[in-house]
Symmetry: D2
Subunit: 179 residues, 4 copies
């Protein structure tokens, strides 16, 4: 089983600069996360595509990610894209529009809190994405917080800080209006 992981930056990869006293996207922490997991018989190709806050991503960045996905398709049994949550949906929709006939699962994940924090959700989400890579049927997904959400129609729920399908958001909104 061969999985390609493309890292692009995002909250999950923010690290603390002690001189500046601030959080930055400078490098990926993926290898540290992978070292803490037990993954027998799994071959991982890690491609560090960029290191960007996803709010700063422009069209050219999404085109680059798309190119890397296409390059990885013939040599991978699954692809995971580690991405900032703010525009994860946009990149997911972009891949969904452009790669119609994927025969493998393509999974976008990230975190609400950087991995370097003690109570980050990064380890959970990477664990889930790697598990989904093994068991999900072909398609484009967001994986986070115990959920496998198929594109199109996945959005960030900025109130409860997780991802949901468009349907779920509408249902919650309808219930709140009724109440």
């Amino acid at each position: 089983m061969k999985i390609t992981i493309l890292t692009t930056g995002g909250t999950i990869d923010k690290t603390y600069d002690e001189h500046a006293g601030s959080l930055r996207n400078e490098r990926t922490v993926l290898d540290t996360i992978l070292k803490s997991l037990r993954l027998p018989d799994l071959f991982i190709r890690h491609v560090a595509v960029m290191s960007k806050d996803s709010l700063e991503m422009v069209d050219a960045d999404r085109e680059l990610i798309l190119r890397e996905v296409r390059a990885a398709l013939p040599v991978s049994d699954a692809i995971i894209i580690v991405h900032g949550t703010d525009t994860l949906s946009k990149t997911g929709e972009c891949i969904y529009q452009n790669i119609q006939d994927s025969t493998i699962p393509i999974i976008l994940t990230g975190a609400m809190r950087p991995y370097e924090f003690r109570d980050s959700d990064a380890l959970q989400n990477i664990t889930e994405a790697l598990f989904a890579a093994k068991v999900a049927s072909p398609g484009i997904y967001a994986v986070m917080h115990n959920r496998l959400l198929p594109f199109p129609g996945v959005v960030k729920d900025r109130t409860s800080l997780t991802f949901r399908t468009q349907e779920e958001i509408e249902k919650i909104s309808t219930n709140e209006t009724k109440a």
Copy 2:
């Protein structure tokens, strides 16, 4: 989505007794593990069935677990059994023999290193079991170390300290004989 988690003890739940200076099965750490995960919209019923090293389990213990599985079936969308790894296969086969027509996934998991240790695999395995509970088709499985293994025929690989299917073990063994 309602998941029932049955805890039975095992390595994952071993805690350190500072007076005796030794590891014991006295209580479950499941709630601590669950608190560290983000599980929106998931309803978890936790039933602490017993707190035993699985090497000390007798037939009556397995019958009790089977009774608890049957009791949980009508009220659960998935069942997770947290179990010692030494006889996890035996309990899995027992459930497989006795519950033929399950309409939900029944997942056995555990850990090679107690949760209380810094570099335990417990969090990874519980994360994976909870994800499998969401996405697996009906059946009996062992979930550990990035793998979803369907019963019958799952065994503990005592050399590499993980679980494998009977087929995989035979393949490894054949390769070693050839080499």
Copy 3:
């Protein structure tokens, strides 16, 4: 043994706001740190004085800290002030100028990396400050990174990100000029 701990904010207490995606001084993490330590027979009075990045402290803030130190003196065997590192020296000198005849140790500490980060120096520094509170002779000190540094003359070494005495800084600087 009664120790008063005054928290004022600083890097050590920065917490991550998932909605804003940024670090903030909003509350103190001191109680979480203390819970992780074994401190038999120690009575701790914790006074949360303010929650500020020390670069934003004004004279009125330092006067307030001084007032709290004076209020704590008669009821404490030692005083610890948890403070941002950027102006820790300034507050230390201010206390040194104004409290000449302290009969107990008054210790300033903080951290270069917020406690919420996995590899923070916060736990080390608080552990050391609590130990110094037990064993140091009366005086005003900075405690951090295995060192007990008496005021006056303690400064932040912005190159190696630790605190040093004025003498040490001059020695390092002279050596570098020679080399």
Copy 4:
């Protein structure tokens, strides 16, 4: 500042053997602990003397430790001995009897819970021992749980699982008899 650390095993150094499912004294975790601390300008000589549960130490072991202490004296500004808590007092008294005129602090420390456990006191105690090595006057001490206890007369309090002076134990015992 040069500190010699002699490791001898004990609870602090117990590691988990996944094949046997049990705790063992096989190697020291000291270097992992030291890597997590910030210790500028400190030169540490680490001598791994033995790896024993201190209940299994015999006279010859204590003689060996004594020889290593004597060998370290001329090249060290302080000596730390990492030791099992069960017979730490015995080794401390032995050093006190045999090394009367030490001109440096000699500090015994250990832990009630192995370092490999998440909520171990090992990091606290090593942090404190390293700080005491910097600030304590010449003598033989036990350092643990925020306390610097001078030999002779230090004993393990098996009820509250910490170290105390003989006097403190008698005081507690007298109070309990009165009550």
